[in-house]
Amino acid sequence: MKLSRVSAYFSLHARSYLRSRSALFFQIAFPIILILLFGAIFSGSSYSPSTLVIQNESPSTVSWGVVDAINSSGLFKVQLIPQNENLSNYITTNSVQAALLIPSNFTSNLYSGGLGFVVLKGHTNPTVATADYETLNGILTQINFRASNTTQKLVLSSQVAIGNTGKTIDYYVPGLIGFTVLSTMFNMVYTVPNYRRERLFRQLSFSGLTKSEWITANMLFSFLMLVLSDVILVAIGIYAFGASLTLNAETILTSALIIFGGLFFFTSVGILAGLVSDNEETVSVVGNLVMFPMMFLSGVFFPLTFAPAYLVTISKFLPLTYFINSLISVLDYGNISTVAIQIVWLLLGSAILFAIAVKLFSWKQK
């Protein structure tokens, strides 16, 4: 690997890229249009108090105390349902907007010094869900605060993937960052077969450039473009739509790390997908096959709240889901520790996949 060659190719690539209107459009303009669109659509949504169904499977002084606190906040109309009722059925038959489950291990967990989880279920509308989530979280935080002399902690977990502030835009910023990273894959899926067909790799090899240098220069450039477009996205999210993201040195660095891992991951997937498609038709088939499921099922454009269970299951197999969820945790919740493992996996998986892609990616003719 020669840095001088990497930088020479970087410069060649950057110039041709910046001359290409369509590339610039998809890298920079398209995400901006999307965030403006989403921001505008969801900016009017507001919150109105709703009924909260509560099922307490762990009756105890503490758990009833929590129910009382929620009730007395006046922010929800609390409606209790018996322990033996099937909560999921109840939610469907009565079209319940929000239901809180205090699971059977809640009390014992707390007494053994652990965390007491409660689960929010049953939303069909992401905006309302966000608001409910936020309100409940607020109440629980207060309870936690009052009980701060003890080691007990109440934690609300939600089965809807929504940001913690009640603004939908908070959710879309990480989602669209995911989209920008995904576009690097898109680039590769098209570039690799195209360069092979035009025999540009052969032509580039006459310059002494190696495939690793080619990939490195490409990724460096992509990373710069990602940073640029993602900074713009975050800025628009914050200044135009009042997104409340947790931005500090740690979350920014962690996000950059996640994006970097994602870049490796999706570049590798792109190269591999590009290698299997050897003519123009297969390029678009493979491209769409890889691109669209990820785009729509990973929650880039909408949370999977609306989706049937089997789609949610599929989404669990899509790497982009974890990528976006990690970003949501870090940027929306400022929560780095719980995604640390995911980030390690992302980087590890990317490294392995990258090695495979580089190995299989041959510049020579057979």
Partner: protein, 304 residues
Amino acid sequence: MPETVIDVSNLVKSYSDLRAVDGISFSIKRGEVFSLLGPNGAGKTTTVEILEGVRNRTSGDVRVLNEDPEKSRTLTFKLGILPQDFSFIYNSTPKEALTFYKHTLRASGDIQEILEMVELGDKATTPFQKLSGGQKQKLGLALSLVNDPEVLFLDEPTSGLDPRARRNIWNVIKTLKERGKSILLTTHYLEEAELLADRVAIMNKGKIIDSGTPMEIVERHHEDDNLIIRGDGQVERDLAAGGFQFQRDGSYIKLRLKNIRDATSIINYLSEHKTKFEDFTLKRESLEDVFIRMVGEIEEDETE
């Protein structure tokens, strides 16, 4: 004696059951222009690409500047390569392309000068996709010159060029030859090979069927020379009376000559008989005539 820069012996390249190159041997000396000729699919490009290190061979021995192109990592820096189907990043300009090669190959040549040499001076900042076919080809040639290489591989450098541009490329190749470069040139233009090449090899179906200087090849394979006389029936009658064999071909009368000097006696004979004829020409076969027959004969042999 000049050193050998390219040495090929018993080179074989198979694609599944096709032997695209079938045991060929040749060598090129420093400063020599060597031309590979042959019909489409003869195996020229395959041979050249093996020498460039772009393709791996099936068997045989190949040395370029005393290195094995399949293994060497440094050979690229000493070679200039214009591939047959040259293409480049469609949004890059000739200037950017040359700058890139100049940096990576650590060359010192002047970019504008090279562009002028191939007549691309005024297209330095035009994106590749907006160049004409011939201009693209010229960029390919320019890129092969950036590192002032010792050995050049030019695979059909003039295909797609207009006659004037072709002559310009010929001049570039002549200049390179004067500077002592060794050049492996493939072409479909036989007059190009005749003009530029010190030696040629004629390939067909993966084999070299003959090689030598263009003169030698013509000498070896040309059929009898022809004397062509333009004239009327009287000329025919007089020639018949003199016992000469001839063929009528439109307004021409064609006589095959065993020896080119026989032409003198025929013309003398006609003058002595005061036979009137309009004019005459002596026709010797060109490399192209010989080439077409050599390649054609093989085709016919196979269909028998």
